[in-house]
């Protein structure tokens, strides 16, 4: 339960409104049953397992999340716009990208 503790100690209520909406999409797409959307820190890495709080996102999840972002925000993700891994780095980078595209 290290994720929960990290969440309570450092990142609770730091999400912006848009980040909170995105966090809900992520938890839904990733089926992160042990994690509430509000617990995800805006700077937690989304891909991989390198950090203790990485969420373990993979490319098929990214496809799913891209569809949800299109439906919810009207923003279409493209790989050639930018390095998509950079866009998917964290809740914050994803949110910034959406804000910039809207």
């Amino acid at each position: 339960m290290t994720q929960m503790e990290t969440a309570e100690n450092t990142t609770m209520s730091q999400q912006t409104e848009q980040e909170a909406k995105l966090a809900a999409i992520l938890v839904d797409a990733l089926e992160l049953e042990d994690l509430e959307p509000g617990e995800i820190g805006p700077d937690w890495p989304l891909f991989g397992f390198d950090a203790d709080n990485s969420l373990g996102l993979d490319s098929i999840d990214a496809l799913e999340i891209a569809l949800a972002i299109d439906q919810n925000f009207g923003v279409k993700l493209k790989a050639e716009d930018e390095n998509t891994k950079a866009v998917f780095a964290s809740l914050r980078t994803l949110s910034d990208y959406i804000s910039a595209q809207r």
Binding site: D58, A79, E80
Partner: protein, 458 residues
């Protein structure tokens, strides 16, 4: 004189590559490859002089490397994924490997290769060093039919990857049969594919098509729906999209507008009839599926909305003997036993009753369940465990007996397994349920998983 037709076109502004440039680049890379060999001339031997592991992301780079490897008598090894552990295992198993790439390698893979003194060749760099030859006409490439072009890996119940050699004539033969089945005889077709060149299906439908048929292939591997649309728009009509059910579903659901298509080809996993119907309606073109296997390559096709009967490619013959199904064809070196359960209806027609092997395919990535289980059990600190398909999706779940943090288990597995096959949830339990024979059925595993998840939520 009109310019030679492009074999590969790019989205990144690089000039298109015609057949001459392809042959010239391949010879240049082959000359560099020969420098890493035993000094034996590739022309004088039938034996492999070593192997190539071709990690190139762009299809034109991959194809140049693939042809160069053929010229240098170095079969291309096609591992199921490019994770560091997988590549390291290959270079340890096959003597005299050269790694071909067109992007920066992951730092940990780079370090592993350097420590083993495995040569690394950057495919975009080699032709640049030899620009003197540009513009000259080049002899067409020709390869020895019997020489091994590629080695693909499948796995049996032990999870140990088993190599399958693919002679050049087998791959070229499959390409010819696919051309006859899917491409018009009198028009140059454009192909855009969302599957990698390193996957058997991708190799046959893009790289081998580029080499054996009059087609123009997009060198990229577009992923998101808008990327696929952009790639298709950059190609002249008639256009064919080669893809998988996952990409197709994303495309249909996103409602992305595509330029006119002549056809869609899907493979790697069963395509739902309603999704196929939606795609046909959205783009006003037929959606076809390819059936194949690692041992035999592409073998049959069907138009999904016309029903569940598959039609073998020309020259492919199925037979039943002692309750086993075999496939033979002139381009196959020998008769191949199919792992799948087939009902033969009439010559050339069959129904697929069930997949007999444990290969998993998600979005053009492949892995074997037995191999994934082996990777899990090989982790220091994992006492017992079982990976199995989930109830509600094509993804995997796992039960693990360990004192480790579940994240550490996932991280350890990610060295040898593509992230899309990492089990989720990965659930810690006291013990793995087994019957009196010591076996775990999927039903038992799913039930234990449900109980474990339920108690977690208490």
């Amino acid at each position: 004189m009109s310019p030679a037709p492009a074999v590969f076109v790019h989205s990144d502004g690089r000039p298109a590559m015609d057949r001459d440039a392809l042959a010239r680049n391949a010879r240049t890379v082959a000359a560099e490859l020969s420098g890493y060999g035993s000094g034996c001339s590739p022309e004088l031997t039938a034996e492999p002089l070593g192997y190539c592991i071709n990690l190139a992301a762009e299809r034109d780079h991959f194809t140049v490397g693939f042809c160069a490897a053929l010229l240098a008598k170095r079969p291309s090894l096609l591992p199921a994924n490019q994770q560091t552990g997988t590549i390291t295992e290959l270079v340890d198993r096959y003597a005299n490997c050269v790694v071909l790439t067109d992007t920066a390698l992951a730092a940990d893979l780079d370090a592993e290769l350097q420590s083993r003194h495995v040569p690394l060749l950057s495919l975009p760099d080699v032709p640049r060093r030899h620009e003197a030859g540009a513009g000259q006409e080049s002899q067409p490439l020709a390869f020895t039919p019997a020489q091994t072009a590629a080695v693909v890996f499948t796995s049996g119940s032990t999870g140990e990857p088993t190599p399958i050699d693919k002679p050049w004539r087998t791959l070229a033969g499959t390409a010819e049969l696919l051309r006859r089945r899917f491409l018009p005889a009198d028009e140059r077709v454009s192909i855009v594919a969302t599957v990698p060149a390193q996957h058997m299906y991708g190799l046959e439908t893009t790289v081998m098509m580029a080499l054996c048929a009059e087609v123009t292939v997009h060198s990229g591997k577009p992923f998101y729906p808008p990327d696929i649309a952009t790639a298709l728009r950059s190609m002249p009509a008639p256009r064919i999209l080669v893809t998988t059910p996952i990409h197709l579903q994303a495309l249909v659901r996103s409602g992305t507008e595509l330029p006119p298509l002549a056809g869609v080809i899907s493979a790697t996993a069963p395509l739902g009839e309603s999704l196929a119907a939606d795609a046909e309606q959205a783009w006003d073109c037929p959606v076809k599926e390819i059936y194949g296997c690692s041992e035999g390559g592409s073998l049959a096709s069907r138009t999904t909305t016309e029903g569940d009967v598959w039609h073998t490619l020309d020259e492919v013959v199925l037979s039943r003997e002692a309750q086993r199904t075999y496939v033979s064809a002139p381009h196959l070196a020998s008769r191949v036993e199919l792992q799948d359960e087939l009902a033969l209806l009439s010559p050339g027609n069959f129904r697929l009753l069930g997949r007999g092997n444990d290969m998993l395919n998600i979005g053009g990535k492949r892995a074997s369940l037995a191999h994934i289980n082996r990777v899990l059990l090989a982790i220091d600190g994992v006492q017992d465990g079982a990976v199995f398909p989930r109830e509600d999706s094509e993804r995997l779940a796992a039960l693990v007996v360990t004192d480790m943090d579940t994240r550490a288990v996932s991280r350890a597995m990610s060295h040898a397994i593509d992230p899309v096959f990492l089990p989720r949830p990965l659930c810690k339990v006291e013990q793995i349920p087994r019957n009196s024979l010591g076996k775990s059925t999927r039903a038992m595993l799913l039930s234990t998983l449900r109980d474990a998840e339920y108690s977690d939520h208490d």
